[in-house]
Subunit: 297 residues, 4 copies
């Protein structure tokens, strides 16, 4: 055969399951979790591609059924998305012989209790919580994350002293709006973590450092957010950010006889700067809590 099968994986994507915890019965106070779960299997699946023989293929439909069943069977672990993802990845690798590695992604949509009622909820859309668990024959990796968290500061942001080439026309500034949609993912150095508490700690560190740190560039703000997370959360080995620079341009109102001192801005859509960086613990330091990322990402 002159052609070969390279990297491949398959599974069911976007199983959207909502679990209600009504342990005290219909009238008691309920809890809910709202997850969008995607599972990808790797293993011995060459025949499925090359000859069409599906004898080793666990169907994506059974994969979906497993996700739904685990929301009940592993209800306690499923109270946190990391718990559900770990339970699923371990199940597929441990019980289906031809699956050698498995990656489970979860988007967790937060809900908040409405007006103190026992059964009423409002979706908190400020951000989405994410999880990627990867189980290989040798290791387990838990990457927690958040995305779509939109933050803005109205000052305490400068940008100047940059490199200039023949295509550079940007004017330096000592004052500007800085805004971004935070996407962050962080690798834990183990699985013995209080996932809910850890998430809250990271979320708080991110928003607090964004709001408080003086900024000379979005790159520096990302570094500040990342080190704040590593300071606050012992279980985090490294954190990756992908942050657009949501440009807000001061509008020239002088044709209309109006001054505009950083007040009225055009919120532009495209193009946008895109800054991506990883902040890690230094492995060489004594007692480092760094963890080999391996196939986590």
């Amino acid at each position: 055969m002159s052609y070969v099968l390279g990297h491949n994986q398959y599974g069911k994507a976007e199983v959207h399951a909502v679990r209600v915890y009504r342990d005290g019965g219909r009238e008691a106070e309920h809890e809910i979790v709202d997850y969008n779960v995607s599972v990808a299997h790797q293993g011995d699946f060459e025949d499925a591609h090359v000859t069409g023989d599906q004898a080793k293929v666990l169907t994506t439909d059974a994969t979906k059924n497993t996700v739904n069943a685990f929301m009940k069977e592993h209800g306690d672990e499923a109270r946190e998305p990391e718990g559900l993802a770990l339970a699923l990845a371990r199940h597929f690798v441990d019980t289906v012989p031809q699956i050698t590695s498995c990656r489970v992604n979860v988007e967790a949509f937060p809900w908040e209790r409405a007006h103190g009622t026992p059964h009423g909820f409002v979706r908190n859309k400020d951000y989405v919580r994410t999880v990627t668990v990867t189980k290989t024959p040798d290791a387990e990796y838990v990457v927690s994350g958040l995305k779509d968290l939109t933050v803005l500061k109205t000052t305490d942001s400068e940008f100047h002293g940059f490199y200039e080439d023949k295509y550079t026309t940007l004017k330096p500034t000592k004052d500007r709006i800085m805004a971004t949609d935070v996407k962050a993912q962080w690798l834990h150095n183990g699985t013995d973590v209080d996932w809910g508490k850890s998430f809250s700690t990271v979320l708080d560190a991110v928003t607090s450092s964004f709001a408080n740190a003086y900024s000379y560039a979005l790159q520096q703000t990302i570094w500040d957010m990342g080190t704040a997370v590593l300071d606050a959360a012992d279980s985090v080995s490294e954190i990756r950010f992908s942050c657009p620079n949501n440009h807000h341009f001061v509008i020239d109102l002088s044709p209309f006889g109006l001054e505009n001192e950083f007040e009225v801005h055009h919120a532009d859509d495209r193009p946008y700067g895109l800054i991506e960086a990883t902040i890690q613990r230094d492995e060489s330091s004594s007692n480092s809590k760094a963890f080999d990322p391996g196939q986590a990402w």
Copy 2:
């Protein structure tokens, strides 16, 4: 001419402007508003279409410039989206002779102060606040609104006793999740309103009544939300809702030997029920605060 020009309007859509209020200077506590503004003009524009003569056309570019300039010139009114929309609609109708009517739509994106900082903000994405102001030669209409508010209740919802025809297969239920994305728009009976306070009152009435009222159908819940708004907000003459029934189907886990008593649900995407209704004050009652909707909608 055998063809005639019928209803027509034009303008600039989606002028996305962010205003920072830094009245106390750079170091003081700032405020922000974040508006996506669309303006549509009606009037004497037949020539622009039929002969191509643009002599009466105020350009959409000038319309955009006016929106941006008014964020500064009418900064105080612009602290509330209704205020900006009224100022714009009045300007266009009063100063451009050939514009006889004008409709201004605003999407207002709420932001919340981050960690008590003077300059840091987090976007509250739970809902979008909306405004539609329509100014005609004879009247002004202010319609406030909200959209994309996602609410869910885990019980206190039944659905049974419905009409059955030959295509009916649905089983009645005495218990179910009810969830929707609330889109509501309400017409005020005047313009002398504290817009910010009024919006908060309506938002609170909507979420509270959704969470608290026992439901025999989404139709009934909409009625309950609407009457709660009319009870709470004197300035509201009528309110319109457009609410999808975000179906959550209980998953049959019996093939896996699992009971599932309203716990694990599939959150389905399409199709969905769509319920739309208007709740109005009774014009015939004495002292009714009803207002003729005219061309408000």
Copy 3:
């Protein structure tokens, strides 16, 4: 009661059904239609809202079932979206006593045969075909349409001689790109129409007149497209357009020593002009094919 129920309607939205016509059997050449169907009922539904009594409510689930069943039962009519929509609207109004009016919207997604194969298809995403059928106690209205058709001309477009006020800064131009996403809906003056042929005629008239007509404004181009449709399609009584002006701004490359004579453009996202107009047959002319729009829109 001090509050009253105003305008209301309900139904099932976005029933996404794909019908394969395999009349000659599995091996023969197949045909497909791909519809996203939404149905809204009006009638005697006050109790459903005010008291929660659902005795008159045909469920949205049964409405969905009817759509799916009609794709089979009325398979011949369903070869065109207008045919399916008419069959559904008539069914609901004629067989469910409490439904007095019904509106059926269909999005029809076109597919094209792939490489002449009997069973292979490629989705043609250049546009979406739409239908809105409204049946009232007294009349039937068929509005056909298209949306998301993106067209552009690289010249033969001017814009100048416009009205100027104090907020006008736009420079007039004798040459520019003009581009838009055509959304058009046209009302037929009856139901005895070859829907497929009529749609092709309108689509051809729209794209041809856009490409060929010299333009002094998008308003004029819309007029030209509309009159071209009325010229070409006898069954069309009136046509409505909603067209964004997809701005393409010539980029100033002079800082880099480059001339840019209408060559390199920035395709901007927001804001955009939005032009909406209706072109109608003149009712007063003899032998006019105009049709009273009534509740069509």
Copy 4:
């Protein structure tokens, strides 16, 4: 320092530029290209993050300016997206010392001439053409691609004989609709390629093999599409697919007394199978045209 900066890159994303080629003047036949360009730089940017010193940072604004200028300066190369991407990546790495590697992504939106006119165009939205060029200190990688190509076959698709575990409930089938949105990316073994012709060859191989090949699973169909591409395009070293299984479920119409032999289907949204695979030339074969993928992906 106990924390270190790991992988990082930055640049400008989504520079949406449209170039008109009007070489013969305003009246001649024009050509257009429509590109959405994203550029990411890697290099010596630690200071920008850690100290806030921007002395080495080429601004994202200058990056945008370069893209726009190159649409004119390198107009001939820019007729194909691969040509523009190569010119840009080489420029940044060769002329900005601190940039050591650069990745350029282009989305190219195809347009077709309308009705044979010299200046009128209709967007072909059936697919988007993509390019990723990566230039490192040692190598250049060109990955061409396509996405959002939606294909469907109405039969000649089976699925059975699969692995069964306790969560398997799927019934095997000898007949079904198979549909997917093709996303494919292919690595070239050099840069001396007729990019436009190569793209057409691959597009044709993909759609033809999808439509013609009998399928026992989407995995097998992907293998067939991949080998068809490698057969047809000498310059392609390997190709990667990511294809959702767009499920079409046969609807049970028996409650309404109707047979439904693979005719009426529900086109479901979520969840969906997701199949990803790479098909490569065998490096060990003599005269293999395989190319070390290095940092291409």
